[in-house]
């Protein structure tokens, strides 16, 4: 069984609700969270991540608004059966992830050239 973990990094400038939103959306886009998969309750996720329940509730609400999640009363929050057309979302998600990574590395004192060189060494060509 695959374990999908999400984390909130307090050092990032991106607000925690946005970090949660983007990681769940990315997990759905990659197929790690399949359609109709149940998500943890707001209280459980907030407790595990050490954030306020409102933070998780806001991320869930935004994901529902965009059509990634559905809330089904007693059945809890689930991944929607029909996902939104996601080509643009995929591109956006990648751009967002790269931006967060670059911001995080910049905070740790790495220069743009150093980050670029490390990425070029790591990413396979072709």
């Amino acid at each position: 069984m695959s374990e999908t973990l999400i984390a909130v990094d307090p050092e990032l400038q991106t607000p925690p609700y946005q970090q949660i939103f983007e990681q769940i959306r990315a997990a759905i886009e990659r197929g790690v969270l399949p359609a109709d998969a149940a998500l943890p309750t707001v209280r459980q996720l907030a407790g595990d991540l050490g954030v306020a329940p409102n933070t998780v509730a806001r991320a869930y609400a935004d994901l529902q608004t965009e059509g990634w999640l559905v809330s089904e009363g007693r059945r809890g929050t689930r991944v929607a059966d029909r996902l939104p057309a996601n080509r643009r979302s995929r591109t956006n998600a990648l751009a967002d992830a790269v931006m967060r990574f670059v911001q995080s590395m910049s905070h740790r004192g790495y220069t743009g050239a150093e980050i670029l060189e490390a990425v070029q060494r790591t990413v396979p060509r072709g």
Binding site: M1, S2, E3, T4, L5, I6, A7, V8, D9, P10, I24, A27, L33, A38, L39, P40, T41, Q44, L45, G47, D48, L49, G50, G76
Partner: protein, 271 residues
């Protein structure tokens, strides 16, 4: 040996010596009860995953930072209580009730104050339910077991211990449910291994008070019915039988869990 020895001296010596020995173990090596690595001996020997497990377990141990002092205090209490019991200053039934109460309070103090104090915290995207760690019927067995000392409330000399044992058992069930609902301790550095460690430790820490909740009454009821000799009522005999059954069920579940425990490496390799 005559009947008096088995009815009076044997329970006194047995309980007294048990409490003294348990107390010595707690004082000498309290880390035995807080050390996570002893739950993963097999995985730690694995040539491929051993170092990953060691790293995750060490990190988790430092996050949990379970204190050793409460265990040592409990050990000292056990030795004093054992001494008083062995030399007949306290009856074995009262001694047992007090010992169980202290053990239950210790378990709650240690486990319930545990929090994820790491700066970077992670969470699994799977919902947790009350029956993830222990089946509903184990909770039911524990609840039934907690009520079995009640028929002894009107017996002179057993009423206070019966109340304490019932409370300890009920307290343990509440502790198990609370531990089950506690936040996960995950940092996201090694998701697959951390998830295995989290699941196993949560199961162990929920199962321990639940099994304590069934085991505590059965010993008390054995002493209680022995105390009454042949004069135990039908209800008291039934209570003992039910308590014994509940305890048997909980230990059978524990044995089944140990028997089918999948080697963690198999699960990691599937991820």
């Amino acid at each position: 040996m005559n009947h008096a020895f088995w009815a009076h001296d044997f329970p006194r010596l047995y309980i007294g010596i048990f409490e003294i020995c348990f107390g010595i173990v707690l004082i000498a090596s309290p880390q035995y009860f807080t050390n996570l690595q002893r739950r993963f001996r097999r995985e730690l020997k694995d040539p491929v995953l051993g170092s990953r497990f060691l790293s995750v377990l060490q990190r988790r141990q430092s996050i949990e930072a379970l204190p050793l002092m409460p265990w040592r205090v409990m050990g000292l209490f056990g030795i004093i209580l054992g001494y008083l019991t062995a030399f007949a200053f306290v009856t074995p039934v009262v001694s047992y009730a007090l010992f169980c109460f202290a053990l239950s309070a210790l378990t709650c103090v240690v486990f319930l104050r545990m929090r994820n104090r790491s700066e970077r915290r992670a969470a699994m995207l799977t919902p947790r339910t009350a029956t993830d760690t222990a089946p509903w019927w184990l909770y039911a067995a524990a609840v039934v077991s907690a009520m079995t000392p009640l028929p002894f409330l009107n017996v002179t000399g057993l009423s206070a211990p019966a109340a304490v044992v019932a409370l300890v058992s009920a307290f343990s069930i509440v502790a198990a449910a609370t531990v089950n609902g506690m936040a996960a301790i995950l940092t996201g550095d090694d998701a697959a291994i951390e998830a295995i460690v989290e699941r196993r430790m949560r199961t162990v820490r929920v199962a321990t008070p639940l099994i304590l909740a069934t085991a505590v009454p059965v010993v008390f009821l054995a002493m209680g019915t022995s105390f009454l000799r042949g004069n135990a009522s039908v209800l008291q005999n039934w209570a003992f039988a039910v308590s014994f059954g509940a305890c048997f069920v909980s230990f059978a579940w524990l044995a089944a869990c140990i028997a089918r425990k999948q080697f963690a490496r198999d699960r990691v390799l599937v991820v």
